[in-house]
């Protein structure tokens, strides 16, 4: 305590702590006891939450925590906001005790021939990642791909007829992964035979934005789509959805994620600016509605550490954290550090309460509840040039929902 007080009263730290207190006060909607603030945030009050700038012109698309090494995050980005151009995949390491004013540690990065919209680690091999790209899904070996120009995928099947925007691995059986695409389908891939899809799940009428495998059931997965529906699939029952319902006032549902603790509950985020909690046993009516975003909600994520803690990000440039256990005032934190659409978001598996966000402003922020993210010094990045676009990397979109 004496040491804390001595530290507190240095001029720099007084200013810093006042600044952080004021920022936190703006982020939350209740009075914060200053003493409580100092005692509970004493480590972070004097620290900063770092950021990673991407290659010039690249917009952040997704963030996922590495299940093998929870201090690492795989982040994807796309040139020209994903409209045209190539992509980048970054593997970044971050720990809560990251030194202030130090650049982020980038383990490696490589380029893709089209925009990289999502990436996930294989649950069978720590060196394999699946990347969802504008020209199809691709599997890479990160050992050979990272920091090499023109990195070529191990496998690049072209089953999808539109942009692939989500890749997610089955965490239970570990032997399959899923992709969703703007061609309106979800595809199931065998990890050992990824050359062609094992099953095509059809039922959505427009682009499918996200697919989320169940955290405790190897056969179930959820998807959400531009047709305004979310759907539950059981791969044992064939390519038709088990349940489906319109979720967000017939508007596009942009993100979906299972609750990691309750196998019946999941979260959706939509163009109607709402985050909704659902129970699959009552598909016709949402269990809870979270209001607070002022633009379409682009990503929702349930915390791996707390049943009632969820995070969301959106086109209002904000990242929000919510406590579902406080139905009267669920919004707990709101960040406005990004200057563009916040498209990527995920929780840290190693640091409770920490989220990583990636946005179209060209930055990823690594942030913890209650603290303002700040810009870290840029770190040197390998050029990570993409491979040339060729027949194996042909452009997608010819038969997709937009090709009417």
């Amino acid at each position: 305590m004496v040491q804390l007080h001595l530290v507190l009263f240095t001029p720099q730290n007084v200013i810093l702590s006042i600044k952080h207190y004021l920022v936190l006060s703006l982020q939350v909607d209740h009075f914060i006891d200053p003493i409580w603030f100092v005692l509970s945030h004493k480590k972070q009050v004097f620290g900063e939450m770092p950021s990673l700038p991407f290659h010039q012109g690249f917009a952040g698309q997704s963030v996922r925590c590495n299940p093998w090494i929870p201090s690492q995050f795989i982040i994807t980005a796309a040139d020209n906001f994903g409209v045209t151009g190539s992509g980048k995949v970054y593997l970044v390491e971050w720990l809560p005790d990251h030194p202030p004013n130090a650049p982020m540690k980038v383990i490696g990065c490589f380029g893709t021939s089209d925009g990289a919209f999502d990436a996930c680690f294989s649950e069978m091999d720590p060196n394999i990642i699946a990347v969802a790209c504008g020209d199809g899904v691709k599997l890479y070996n990160i050992q050979s791909a990272f920091n090499c120009d023109g990195a070529m995928p191990l496998v690049a099947p072209h089953d999808h007829q539109g942009e692939v925007v989500c890749a997610a691995w089955n965490q239970v059986s570990k032997d399959s992964f899923y992709t969703s695409s703007w061609d309106g389908t979800v595809r199931v891939w065998g990890a050992l035979q990824p050359q062609t899809a094992a099953m095509v799940l059809q039922g959505h009428m427009k682009e499918v934005y996200e697919v989320s495998p169940a955290p405790r059931d190897a056969h179930l997965l959820l998807s959400c789509s531009g047709d305004g529906f979310w759907k539950l699939w059981d791969v044992r029952k064939g390519p038709q959805a088990v349940i489906g319902a319109p979720g967000h006032n017939n508007q596009i549902i942009l993100s979906i994620d299972w609750n990691k603790y309750d196998p019946n509950c999941f979260l959706t985020g939509g163009v109607d600016q709402l985050v909704k909690l659902w129970d699959i046993r009552r598909p016709q009516q949402e269990a809870m509605v979270l209001r607070g975003h002022q633009g379409p909600v682009r990503r929702v994520r349930c915390s791996p550490h707390a049943r009632t803690q969820v995070a969301s990000s959106g086109y209002d440039y904000r990242v929000a954290m919510w406590d579902l256990g406080r139905p009267q005032r669920p919004l707990t934190h709101r960040y406005e550090q990004h200057k563009e659409f916040v498209v990527g978001l995920d929780w840290s598996l190693i640091a409770p309460g920490c989220v990583v966000s990636a946005a179209w402003d060209g930055f990823a922020f690594f942030q913890q509840a209650g603290l303002p993210p700040t810009h870290s010094p840029p770190c040197p990045l390998a050029p990570a040039l993409p491979p040339p676009r060729g027949p194996g990397n042909r452009r997608r979109g010819q038969g997709g929902p937009m090709a009417r």
């Binding site: 906001f81 994903g82 409209v83 045209t84 504008g134 942009e163 703007w182 009428m205 427009k206 682009e207 531009g226 047709d227 305004g228 529906f229 017939n250 508007q251 596009i252 942009l254 163009v271 109607d272 633009g295 379409p296 682009r298 086109y315 452009r395 997608r396 979109g397 010819q398 997709g400 929902p401 937009m402 090709a403 009417r404």
Partner: protein, 454 residues
Amino acid sequence: MLSKRFSMSRLSTIASQLGISIPSEQRAVIVTGARTPFTRGFGELLALDTIDLGAAAVKGLLEKTKLDPNLIDHVAWGGVILRNGSPNTGREIIVDLKLPPSISAHTESMACISGLKAVLSGVLMIESGNASVIVAGGSDSVSCTEVPLARDVSQSLALYTSGKISASKLLSVAGLPCSWMPQQPGVAERSTGKTMGYHADVMAELCGVKRGDQDKFAMASHAKAAAAISQGLFDDEIVPVTTKVVPHMPSKLVKKDTLVRMTQDEKKAATLKPAFRKAEKGGTITAASASPLTDGGAAVLLMSARRAKELGYAADVAIRSWAASGIQPEPNLLLAPALAFPTALRRAGLTLKDIDYFEIHEAFAGQVLATTQCLASAELCKKYLGLDSAVGDIPLDRVNIYGGSVSIGHPFGATGARIVTNAARILRNKQAKYVLISICAAGGLGMVTIVERI
């Protein structure tokens, strides 16, 4: 160029994520509709041509809604048999009714889809911000069809009267005057020379539609329309019309539809001979299972949602999506709408199961059943529509629940507007969410529109 197209495609998808669509207040809503009674051609409304019928429908609409005509931005009209010399029926309606001359108008023709297409044109004008209040509709009078002279005769007469050819040349080209009598045109497909009925008959055979099913469907259409009339469902829609005095008929007040049979005779229907192909050649469509040649007009009031709310009108029905289609006239001329079903559903983000009710224009009972059977059959969809799988089942108890063109009648340009008004009625009466409209047309055209209650 290729990458630019795909870039624009991605840009469009991203834009849709931003909810960049028609602001809800700008959305066009279907307020209500009105129409004249529908009567058989050369029947009670013989004296009124398409302009008269259209004017009667629009006048009735304005009286019903008590709308200040000064608020109307445009009249969008549909028709098939247009007056020679005054083909813009919409504008003539404005003139005849002495509506504000500042109201613009246009008339379009898409065969039997004309009235629906006029409504959609009105919707487009409103939702693009170019209008707030539009009267849309259509009308047609087979009784007042202007029968043309043969081209040789008319051209020769024109050249002769302008002094460019001699009388002997006129007679040598055009023939003797006794041969100049014009022939009443048939309702035929220009490219094939065959009547609509012939094509529908062939289509019914190819899709396996039986004679008995067609008769049953036609009788059901009459029964449903009769029930709707008995319940007074059309009372607020039909506008009484006083006809003019003409040599063939005195002036009379026509207050209701005259084609609906209030009672059915199943045995008599079974004895009717096929009308378009002999029975031994596979003919199944009879006069009873075909829509009759009809005179009538129908009008629909469209507004932006904002204007409707400002003026205190209903703003709860709107167009969700539509799709047009075309098909080779031979052999399934009237099957074209089936091609538009998947597109309209996809654009609406719906499946067939989401549709509560269907309004399928009954050009012929056999054509409706051929359409539903084709959509439900993977084999027929693949064979005739080039689709990989069946589109889905349409339960007949949800088709045309207040009757259809076979019973009520089919003035070519008015049917689309009548059906739109009926779709709105169904949505409001039944508190349904979606009604799907399907209309086939000459030329191998189809239009499917999904109307929703918002």
